[in-house]
Amino acid sequence: MTIASNFIDCFSQYDWEEIKASIYQKNEKDVLTALYSTKRNLADFMALISPAAEPYLEQMAQISHQLTCERFGKTIQLFAPMYVSNECQNICTYCGFSFHNKLPRKTLSDQELLEEVAAIKKLGFQHILLVSGEANQTVNIQYFSNAIKLIRKHFANISIEVQPLEEGEYAQLQELGVYAVLVYQESYHRETYKTYHPKGKKSNFDYRLETPDRIARAGIHKIGLGVLLGLEDWRTESFFCALHLDYLQKTYWQSKYAISFPRMRPAEGIIEPNVIVNDRNLVQLICAYRLFNPDVELSISTRESEKFRESIIPLGATSMSAESKTNPGGYAVEKESLEQFEISDERSALIIEKIIKSKGYEAVWKDWQAMQPL
């Protein structure tokens, strides 16, 4: 038996159309088998995301609730994204930062970074997610290293969601105190991926696909995965994302993992979703992940509506952003700069905390202590 040494080896053993057919052929019996099982595998996950599982959504939600309580307790972690730049050389037809979108661009200076930090701290956040577009000339490893050094004494936990980097660069950021790296494949469908990412470094499907391997090898604590819901058949996309998670967890067993569920949102100058993922679909997907993997963190952003976010708290979610700004400088420096997408839930972090409490859950602001000397 040969063990795949990167995800591409594993990924190339699967055919999109075969997987899709297999998901849509799942029947009630497959769903019941998956529901009653105590350890669920990828075949079970396929059953749980299939149309055949739709009548069992309430049962899935109950099990998801129970598993999440056992593993995470009644807690929701809070974090805020901090966009440091909207410069981007990529053309991604769904994204507000896309290169073809001829709008003024902004990258935060040292002084501006600190102003944003102060504004975010004032809201109560201790966990931060640093986000950028992909502009390798200006917003690169040097920029990120500098930014981390500037902000790290202000936050307990720093994650990043930036362009794919080299293994050595991730190692460097890890040394500086970066806890987690999020990199969404967007689509696991090779041809679809190419359609939505026609130009820029991001158009290299394989390089992106191998990124979590590089992140893990660099010793980053936590890796976030996800697909952009709205590009392709969400069930098949999610199978491949679960396959990716499964591969990574077995290969890099010392890392933690998280899944996010970005659903396409309106933004300046972008296309309409190709596939509609409705609330019911998303609940099914979140619960299916939890049943498949009791340990994975599941994150819900402010892309979602107030009602959805409130209702999802007991269903398996473990972390949430709140009061997010998706534009660089959005908290203090330049509130009107180009944003990546319109958020849906605009309520303040304090109100979100109150809502979490009202559901019988604890809002966790700090859940990490960096072990590196500053």
Binding site: I63, K250, W253, P314
Partner: protein, 256 residues
């Protein structure tokens, strides 16, 4: 039943046999044939490297049998690497069951020396099947070191106590990227069937067969138990559990 694959070699049987403790070599040979096993361990220390007189090996010359020399008797990684090289020469195979137990009473495997030896032997091209505690982290470390399979114990060796390490074996099976062969402690065919139902890739049995009233008959019983357990695993067991009745449904908001 699907085939067992270890390091690109395919096996039709998921039962491995040990060759110690039998009343005679002939009795051992009969039991092996009755078991349908295709892989048997043989202790290097029992192989006479000097003379060509009738000995254990002559009873194991069957085309369907893969010999798996073990390093039983060694106490550390250094001795294990030496034993492995001797075994490779004597038995003309790079397959190796790595056993390092410095503790002569319970024969508990030494995790630190086993990991060290696995790292070295993998570099030397051996196909290594290490005997270990039911330790999930050790299994992953051995995987990283290049092991071909892992052989966690069900209970202390020779005790016939069954799957006392069940909860840890479940974790190992769930996480492993290499075959998991449950070794040691399997005392009855029902233990073997249980191990296979849990999803173990194979089991190794020795004492329970060798010291049975009729070893050949017991070997056949194990053959059927392993087959039965595996088929049950492939068929997916129905689990008995209840869904909590929802007083306030979690998904009601979707209908609002």
């Amino acid at each position: 039943m699907d085939q067992l694959i270890i390091a690109d070699k395919k096996f039709n049987s998921r039962l491995l046999l040990g060759t110690g403790k039998f009343g005679s070599n002939a009795e051992m040979e009969d039991a092996i044939l009755a078991s349908g096993s295709e892989m048997v361990t043989v202790a290097l220390k029992r192989v006479d490297l000097e003379t060509d007189t009738e000995q254990i090996i002559t009873h194991l010359q069957h085309p369907h049998l893969t010999l798996l020399p073990n390093t039983s008797g060694v106490r550390n990684a250094k001795e294990a690497v030496f034993a492995a090289q001797l075994a490779r020469e004597a038995l003309e195979t790079n397959w190796l069951k790595l056993e390092i137990h410095p503790d002569p009473k319970y024969l508990m495997p030494d995790p630190i020396e086993t990991l060290k030896a696995t790292e070295e032997l993998a570099k030397l091209g051996f196909i290594i099947l290490p005997y270990i505690h039911a330790d999930p982290v050790l299994c992953k470390r051995l995987e990283d070191a290049g092991t071909a399979a892992v052989m966690p114990l069900g209970s202390p060796i020779g005790t016939n106590k069954g799957l006392k390490a069940e909860v840890f074996l479940e974790i190992i099976i769930e996480q492993s990227r290499v075959p998991v062969i449950i070794d040691a402690g399997i005392g009855a065919p029902s233990d073997a069937a249980k191990a296979m139902e849990m999803g173990a890739d194979a089991v190794l049995v020795n004492t329970a067969i060798a010291v049975a009233g009729d070893p050949s008959k017991m070997a056949e019983a194990f053959k059927l138990a392993v087959l039965s357990g595996r088929i049950a695993y492939e068929a997916k067991l129905g689990k008995i559990s209840k869904f909590a009745a929802a007083s306030s449904p979690l998904t009601a908001f979707l209908n609002e």
